[in-house]
């Protein structure tokens, strides 16, 4: 993998707003941003209502994903350009999701909505409608998704990366600081997990740092790139950002995203938890 087939710049995007077989998709948890203004021609995906099962805590299934993309007018052979707010967290989650269901050509808009806005590039509130398609999703690719038992098995064995802020890692905060802190989970991190906040992989304008800077970042943190890696955060979107960096930009082979993340792990009975700024030891 490399940047050429996983990322596009804002310049490229602005020049290709009307290119055939290129579909822009804004992904957010709160789609009021899209509704007030979006990149011209972009369709929206709502992280909460479109990409999550509305009863169980899980993804929508293969058939539901096929129906969703068909309704949005996205075809199997389209190049999908994903972008969103929150430094592309939810767009990176959607990228991972498109890969889970085997979409061939999908890329992230480097810098997401923030860089687009700060650059004063065009936005519109015009409604977008695309002709429906007959999208067929592949079987879910579980080689890029981690479950709680995979995380327990990785403690002290393979790479675990906690990408939350240092205060969440240490247990001083339970959620990102734009959210209230009363939560049901226990604070802390998975023992032996390295702390590499997702934000260290991004510049202030939301674009990704250079490959050399990224290699240096994870190398200095102690990531052993000969071993498999599981990334986690609180609900799996910030860790999608890091999953994207490790697998799609740096080309690491076995990288999985633990979408259960701390809201699952921190609620489990009897599992080991480490507190403080150090990774801690395997029990």
């Amino acid at each position: 993998m490399s940047r050429d087939n996983t990322l596009v710049s804002a310049e490229w995007a602005e020049q290709n707003l009307n290119t055939d077989k290129v579909v822009f998709v804004e992904v957010d948890e709160d789609t009021t941003a899209y509704d007030s203004a979006h990149i011209p021609g972009a369709v929206k995906l709502d992280w909460k209502t479109d990409l999550q099962d509305q009863v169980r805590r899980d993804f929508v299934d293969r058939q539901q994903f096929s129906t969703l993309l068909s309704q949005r007018g996205i075809a199997n052979d389209d190049t999908v350009i994903l972008y969103g707010g929150n430094n592309n967290w939810f767009a990176a989650y959607a990228y991972w999701y498109f890969k889970l269901y085997g979409h061939d050509s999908v890329k992230l808009l480097d810098g997401g909505r923030k860089k687009w806005e700060l650059d004063a590039r065009p936005l519109t509130a015009d409604a977008v409608s695309r002709p429906t398609t007959t999208y067929v999703a592949s079987e879910l690719d579980n080689t890029i998704r981690a479950y709680r038992d995979d995380v327990l098995g990785a403690i002290g064995q393979t790479n675990l990366i906690d990408v939350r802020s240092p205060d969440e890692y240490a247990g001083r905060l339970l959620a990102p600081a734009h959210l209230p802190q009363e939560q049901s989970q226990r604070p802390g991190h998975v023992p032996t997990a390295l702390s590499v906040p997702w934000s260290k992989a991004a510049n202030e304008d939301g674009t990704f740092k250079s490959d050399d800077d990224l290699r240096e970042l994870y190398g200095a943190a102690g990531l052993d790139d000969t071993k498999p890696t599981i990334a986690y955060c609180r609900i799996g979107e910030r860790s999608s950002h890091t999953w994207f960096v490790l697998r799609e930009l740096l080309g690491h082979g076995d990288v999985r995203n633990y979408d259960g993340s701390w809201t699952e792990y921190g609620s489990l009975v009897g599992v080991p938890i480490a507190l403080g700024d150090e990774p801690g030891k395997a029990a």
Binding site: K48, N86, P176, P180, P197, S199
Partner: protein, 109 residues
């Protein structure tokens, strides 16, 4: 969808408004809130405000709403607020205590 479920389900920054959600307990939450203003003294809507921890590490980011308002739920201690906007950038150090901490972040080119 109820507030509790949406909080538990999501990590995205909510719309920034001046009024605190009724469920917030100010005896336990440390709220860092305020306004981003331009060099002309006008509120800056759509500014990206980051909360950096005592070591300068990113902790959270929100986009200012109407009246240039932002809000974070932090913890007691030293923080830095950093704003990026089309009207320029700015940075302010904050020493936060439990309850509401009001801060104005001026930005300029």
């Amino acid at each position: 969808m109820g507030n509790q479920l949406s909080t538990a389900a999501g990590c995205g920054a909510p719309a920034q408004t001046r009024d605190l959600p009724a469920s917030i307990d100010l005896k336990s939450e440390t709220v860092v809130t305020g306004q981003v203003v331009s060099s002309a003294g006008e509120p800056v809507v759509g500014a990206y405000v980051r909360l950096l921890d005592r070591l300068g590490e990113f902790t959270a980011e929100v986009v200012t709403g109407d009246e240039g308002v932002f809000r974070f739920f932090a913890a007691e201690g030293a923080w830095t607020l950093r704003a990026l906007s089309r009207d320029g950038d700015g940075e302010v150090a904050v020493s936060a205590a439990t309850g509401i901490n009001e801060v104005t972040v001026p930005v300029s080119r």
